[in-house]
Symmetry: D5
Subunit: 92 residues, 10 copies
Amino acid sequence: MKFLCRMQVQFPESMSAEEVAQKQAQEKEYSQALQRSGEFEAIYRVVGKYANVSIFDVESNDRLHEILSGFPMFPYMSIETTPLSKHPNSIR
Amino acid sequence: MKFLCRMQVQFPESMSAEEVAQKQAQEKEYSQALQRSGEFEAIYRVVGKYANVSIFDVESNDRLHEILSGFPMFPYMSIETTPLSKHPNSIR
Amino acid sequence: MKFLCRMQVQFPESMSAEEVAQKQAQEKEYSQALQRSGEFEAIYRVVGKYANVSIFDVESNDRLHEILSGFPMFPYMSIETTPLSKHPNSIR
Amino acid sequence: MKFLCRMQVQFPESMSAEEVAQKQAQEKEYSQALQRSGEFEAIYRVVGKYANVSIFDVESNDRLHEILSGFPMFPYMSIETTPLSKHPNSIR
Amino acid sequence: MKFLCRMQVQFPESMSAEEVAQKQAQEKEYSQALQRSGEFEAIYRVVGKYANVSIFDVESNDRLHEILSGFPMFPYMSIETTPLSKHPNSIR
Amino acid sequence: MKFLCRMQVQFPESMSAEEVAQKQAQEKEYSQALQRSGEFEAIYRVVGKYANVSIFDVESNDRLHEILSGFPMFPYMSIETTPLSKHPNSIR
Amino acid sequence: MKFLCRMQVQFPESMSAEEVAQKQAQEKEYSQALQRSGEFEAIYRVVGKYANVSIFDVESNDRLHEILSGFPMFPYMSIETTPLSKHPNSIR
Amino acid sequence: MKFLCRMQVQFPESMSAEEVAQKQAQEKEYSQALQRSGEFEAIYRVVGKYANVSIFDVESNDRLHEILSGFPMFPYMSIETTPLSKHPNSIR
Amino acid sequence: MKFLCRMQVQFPESMSAEEVAQKQAQEKEYSQALQRSGEFEAIYRVVGKYANVSIFDVESNDRLHEILSGFPMFPYMSIETTPLSKHPNSIR
Amino acid sequence: MKFLCRMQVQFPESMSAEEVAQKQAQEKEYSQALQRSGEFEAIYRVVGKYANVSIFDVESNDRLHEILSGFPMFPYMSIETTPLSKHPNSIR
C-alpha cells in the first residue's frame, strides 16, 4: 500500500550544530535501513528547500505512523501524507 | 532529471460523457507510451480524488512542458510541478 | 484500517431537481449497504453545510478509493482523506 | 450532541522532556476518564503528525469547551471544532 | 446554546431577477418567524458584501442544522458555523 | 454602529503564570466596565480556542480602535474586525 | 470616518459587451457623483487587475453599505472593507 | 523600472477554438511588438501551466497598466504584479 | 506614481519596552519628514491591529524601496505593496 | 534551463548584527561569482521586503539545488522555485 509523504524540516534555533549533525546522522541510518527493507521506496530532495518527497510501501496506516514517528528528526518535521492507490493508466 | 507533478482533473459540465470517455482513452494511450519510454516513471491515483501524483524523469524543463502540455486532458488539468534532486540519504 | 473523509457536495446548476433527487437516492442505497458491511463505520452531517464527515474501516488504500469513486455522487464531491492510526490514549 | 475536533500539538522549545512527559501522562489519564464516561466517543492519531481527530458526544457547547480547555495539554494545542448532526443516510 | 454563523450568498447566473426576489421574500418571512421565536437572536449585514453574521440560540446541533438547511436560500449560501460558549468576562 | 471582532489570544512563552494572571484580571475589569457602558454589547468564548467573538456598538472607527488597543491583552491578541450594518430582514 | 475598500470586478460570461458597457457607464456616473460629494475620497486602479482600491469618508457603517450596495456593478464585485482610524504619526 | 508579472490564462468554456486561436494570434503580435520595443524584457512559460512569468521595464505604473490591460487576452488572465528594485548584490 | 502599502508590525519578544519606544519615536520622525516632503501622501491605522495602510507618491520602485527599507521599524514590519494607477472614473 | 526563485530572508532574533553582516558579505561574494559564471542570470529586490526574485540558467535540478543550498544564507531563507520553459511568444 503506497503513500506519498512530503516532509519539511525546521530545527529549533536553540539546537547546536553538533546536535543537528547528530540527528541527521541518526536519520540517515534509520532511513537507509528502511530503504533496504523495501518499505521506503523512494526519497527525493525538493529543490531549494530543506524538505523531501518520499514514497512508502507499507502494510497499514499504523505501520506508516510507526515509521514516520520513529524518524529521529520527527519532532522537527512537518509531514503531509497522501494515500495513493493504483492508477488505471499505470503500466506497472 | 526528476519532477513530481500533481494533476487535478476537472472536465467542464458542458462536455458529454462520450467526449470525456474519448479524452480519457487518448490520455491512457499517450500516458502508457511515455511510461514505456522511461520518461514517465510512475503514476499513482490520489485516494478520493480525480487526481494523480506522477514522477517524470526528463532531460529538461522544455521537454517536461512539452510532455505535460501534450496530454490530451491538459486543458482540463491543474498541474503543480515540484523539481526534485538527489537526496543525500537515498540509497538509489 | 481507518480513514476520516470529509465530503463537500456541489451539484452543477444545469442538473434538474429530478436528476439530483435520483442521485441522492442511489447514494443513500450505496451508502447504507456499505454501512451494513462494516466498512463504512460512521457518517455525520456537518452543521450548516451540504457536507459530511465519514469514518471508513477498510483493508487498503485501493479499496478505499474503490468505495469513494463508486459513490453515485462522486463526480459532484470534493473529498479530503486523512489516514488515521491507533492513538496511544485510546481505550478502544 | 456530536462534535469533531482536530487537535494539533506543539510544545514550546523551552519545555524539558520531563515536563512534556508529565503533561502527556496527565493528558492520558484525563482523556481515558472521559472516554470511559462516554462523552469522549473516539480518538484517532493523524498519520504522520502529532495530532489527533476526536469525536465528542456532549450535552452542550459549554460542556465541550469545559472538556477541551480542561485538557492538561490545552495551552499547547490548536483545536478546530466542527459541530455534527445526524446524516439522513446514516443507519445508526 | 449559542452559535455564530456567517452566511455568504451567491445566486447562480441562470436565475431570473423574479426568482431571486421570490427567494428573498421567502427568506425574509422564514427568518423573521425564527427571530420572533427567539432561536434567531441577531442578524447583521456584513458591510460591502451580500453576506450576514447571525447569532442563533438553539437546543442542539441537529436543531441548528434543521434551521440552516431550511432557509429558502440555503442552496445558494456558504455558511461557516462557530460554536460559542459563555465567556468568563461576560456580565450577561 | 456595530462591529464584530474575533480576538485570538497568544501569550509569549517567556511570560510567567503570574504575569498572565495579572493581565487577565486587568482585562476582565476593563472588559466589564465597557460592557456596563453599553459600548461592549456581547462577548462569547469560541469553543475549543483561547479566543472570543465580541460585538461592539460604538460611535466611530477611532473609538473602536481606542477600545481595542486599550485592552490590557491587546499586545497578545490578533483581532479581525468586521463592520456590520442593519440587515433588511432583522426585526430588531 | 474612513474605510479602505478593495473591489475586484468579475462580469459573468453570459453578459453581452453592450450590457457591460452600460453598467460601466452607470458606475462612472454614480462614482463621480459620490466623489464630488466628498464621501468618496479617492479611487485608484490596481495595476494589472480589473480591481480598484478606494477610500471612503462616511458617517456610519450603514451609510457605507448603502453606498457600496448602490454601485450599479455591486452584484459583479467582491469587496474587502477595512475600517481605518487616525494614525498617531499622521500629520494630517 | 522593473516589474515581475505572473499571468494565469483561463478561457471561458463558451469560447470556440477559433475565437481562442484568434485571440492567441493577436496576443503574440501585441507581445512581440512590446518585446522589440524594450519595455517587455522577458517572457517564460511556467512548466505545466497555461501561465507565464514576464519582466517589464517601464517608466511608470500607469504605463504598465496600459500595457497589461491592452493585452488581447487581458479579460481571460489573472495577473499578479510584483514591483522590483535594484538588488545590492546584482552585478548588472 | 502611487503605491498602497499595508504594514503589519511585530516587535520581537526580546526587545525591551524602552527599545520599542525609541524605535517608535525614530519612526515617527522619519515618517513625518516624508509626509511633509509629499512622497508619503497618507497613513491610516488599521482598526484593531498594530498595522497601517499608507499611500506613497514616488518617482520609482527604487525610491519606494529606499523609503520603506529606511523605516527604523523596517526589520519588524511585514509590508505588502500594491502598485496603483489612475482609475478611469477618478475625478482627481 | 531556466528557473525563477523567490527567496524570503528571515534571520533569527538571536543572531548578532555582526553575524548578520558577515553572512550578508559571504552571500554577496557567493552570489556575484555565480552571476559572473552565467548560471545566475538576474537578481532583483522585491520592493518593501527582505526578499529577492532571481532567474537561474543551469544544467539540471541537482545543480540548482547545489547552488541554492550553497548560499551562505540558505538556512535563513524560504525559497519558492518555479521551473520555466521557452514561451511560444518570446522573441529571445
